[in-house]
């Protein structure tokens, strides 16, 4: 019998395999190419994912799945190559065990990936216990009857477990995944739904191509068809790569650049083994070196960019936090100012009231010296009241609590009356003051008369304060459909730097140099009031010592 078996083997003229996988029993280099491609691709992604985060259960499971698939591919290649009956029996058995194990692990993997947590012990029992018959009966005839020497195909005769049981549980596992994914998809957020679709589609397509190829091979003995299973892995890898890059799954950020470079390098390396013409091999070798160097540089620059982007994201988050804190502080400051100024108003009212009563003679006759002193008290408290009013108005504007009572009035009349009211201050300094217009009145505007009076008064008062000699001209003209109010003086003027700071809070231009009083809020308030009326304020000056013109433009009412 042994002689006849050896005789049959001799008839088949099987080639002797070297290093388990290299022999002429494999009918073409394409088999090697497809097997190596799938093996290297799956191992690479498994190792890559695992070493990015070794402690993550999802990463560990993916690594085991890819490791098992790589083993399956390698053992399959042995089955293609070997001429030894005992090798065929052993590796065929192991492959029959590995396949459903991969399916079981895919069920485990997808549950952990989507649920973001380990599964219960009961579920683990449910997944792995069905594999026990295969494990226990692996060395028996229920898996493999024996070696099929009725032909030269180096086949085995599969047992009941291999032909039916294994494929039934694989189909059950595939449906388990489908059902689980469907249930999770319905309840998932929009972002998670996309991830679920991609990773599930990848796994299902991989498993389906695996099972269909192997079922066809087992039932029809056409093992060329069974190679379809090998293409399942690249499909899975494609979807996995997409989820990694798009959703930053498995904690991997640099995957695209590294995968691209690796794939390119691998393809060039593969050509080196397939092409037999020596000159082409030399060219391919140098191409490979070139790809490796460029690939290294590309990966390094992408790493740097990713790191910079991460730093920017962190800074941006810190900035947002700081911004929120600043807004909060600003709000608190506004509330404090409002509270404080209200508290100051009450005693100030008392000071003004009593000073006025003293001046009226309610407390008897005063000496000229006492009268002078009380006058100063009255003036100072009036100034303080204006300052407090300014602070309160600023606080109201910033908190959005400023109310405007708008009526139609003549801007020209307002400007003229304010000029006359304050003319005495100018005359005390020996300055000329006048009102002019372009005779196209009346200059009707719609606005809060009291607030706009403050702006007019502020402009005229400032001009008087900052002019030593010469005069101040108050004018109202019509420019297009705007009413243009201007106050021109022959005062100290300003530099462009001073001009830029002028309408901001607490900015007094060169006020400190001139030793003038003021809170630095008047022009800021003027700007805000003008803006609230749909207008604007600005200043023109040819330079220091050359005077200034402050102006406000408002929409004319027809």
């Amino acid at each position: 019998m042994e002689t006849s078996i050896q005789g049959f083997i001799n008839i088949c003229q099987w080639d002797t395999a070297k290093y388990l996988i290299i022999s002429n029993n494999v009918f073409g280099t394409l088999i090697y190419y497809s097997h190596f491609f799938a093996l290297v691709l799956s191992l690479t992604i498994g190792i890559f994912v695992f070493f990015k985060d070794k402690k993550s259960l999802v990463n560990q499971l993916l690594f085991i799945i890819t490791l098992l698939f790589s083993s399956w591919v390698f053992f399959d290649l042995i089955l293609w190559s070997t001429e030894k009956l005992e090798y065929t029996m052993f590796f065929w058995s192991v492959i029959i065990l590995i396949e459903p194990l991969i399916y079981a692990l895919c069920v485990y993997f997808i549950d952990v990936y989507i649920s973001k947590d380990d599964i219960s012990l009961t579920k683990k029992f449910g997944i792995f216990i069905p594999l026990l018959p295969i494990i226990i009966l692996l060395p028996t005839k229920f898996i493999l009857h024996g070696f099929d020497l009725t032909n030269c195909n180096r086949d085995v005769s599969e047992g009941f477990i291999s032909i039916y049981y294994v494929y039934i549980i694989e189909i059950i596992y595939a449906f388990w995944i489908l059902l689980f994914v469907f249930k999770k998809y319905i309840k998932a957020s929009k972002e998670m739904k996309k991830q679920i679709i991609f990773i599930s589609l990848g796994i299902i397509l991989f498993l389906l191509s695996f099972v269909s190829g192997n079922i066809i091979g087992s039932l029809t003995d056409n093992w060329n068809l069974a190679q379809i299973g090998l293409f399942g892995m690249p499909i899975f890898v494609g979807f996995l790569a997409y989820t990694i890059v798009k959703f930053k799954s498995f904690n991997i950020k640099m995957f695209a650049a590294q995968a691209l470079v690796f794939a390119l390098g691998f393809l060039v390396l593969a050509i080196l083994f397939i092409r037999k013409i020596e000159n082409v091999r030399v060219v391919v070798f140098f191409t490979l070196i070139f790809v490796i160097i460029l690939g290294y540089l590309l990966i390094r620059s992408v790493k740097k960019e990713v790191k910079q982007r991460e730093q920017l994201e962190i800074l941006s988050e810190q900035l947002l936090v700081a911004n929120d804190k600043l807004k909060e502080l600003d709000k608190l400051k506004t509330e404090f100012i409002s509270l404080a100024t209200h508290q100051i108003r009450s005693p100030l009212t008392a000071i003004k009231g009593y000073a006025s009563m003293i001046l009226d003679g309610s407390y008897g006759e005063m000496t000229p010296k006492v009268k002078e002193a009380v006058d100063i008290i009255m003036q100072s408290s009036a100034n303080l009241a204006i300052t407090i009013e300014d602070f309160l108005n600023v606080s109201k504007i910033e908190s959005g609590g400023m109310k405007y009572e708008k009526v139609n009035f003549d801007m020209g009349e307002l400007a003229n009356s304010m000029m006359k009211g304050i003319a005495v201050n100018a005359e005390k300094k020996g300055l000329k003051i006048a009102y002019t217009d372009d005779k196209t009145g009346p200059y009707i505007v719609n606005g809060d008369q009291e607030k706009l009076r403050q702006v007019v008064l502020n402009f005229i008062d400032n001009s008087i304060k900052y002019t030593k000699t010469g005069g101040v001209n108050v004018s109202v003209t019509r420019v297009g459909n705007k009413v243009h109010f201007a106050v021109k003086d022959t005062g100290m003027g300003m530099s462009p730097e001073t001009k830029a700071k002028l309408f901001h809070k607490f900015s007094r231009g060169d006020g400190q140099r001139m030793n003038t009083t003021g809170s630095g809020l008047g022009l800021y308030l003027a700007k805000e009031i003008a803006k609230a009326h749909g207008g604007d304020v600005d200043v023109e000056s040819e330079g220091e010592g050359k005077g200034s013109t402050f102006y406000m433009d408002l929409d004319a009412t027809k």
Partner: protein, 50 residues
């Protein structure tokens, strides 16, 4: 992270797999005890042809 009971279950499962593969290895590769299915008629015919 996996809890202790699950770790125990998976460890036992893994050990069972190793034992099974080891027995299979011993049976097929060491003692080479397996059935070889031949078709004697077809073999004889091919011998004659040779």
């Amino acid at each position: 992270m996996i809890d202790k009971k699950s770790k125990l279950f998976l460890t036992i499962f893994f050990i069972l797999v190793i034992i099974s593969v080891t027995i299979t290895f011993y049976r097929y590769l060491i003692i080479k005890k397996f059935t070889i299915i031949t078709d004697e008629e077809a073999f004889s015919q091919s011998l004659l042809e040779k």
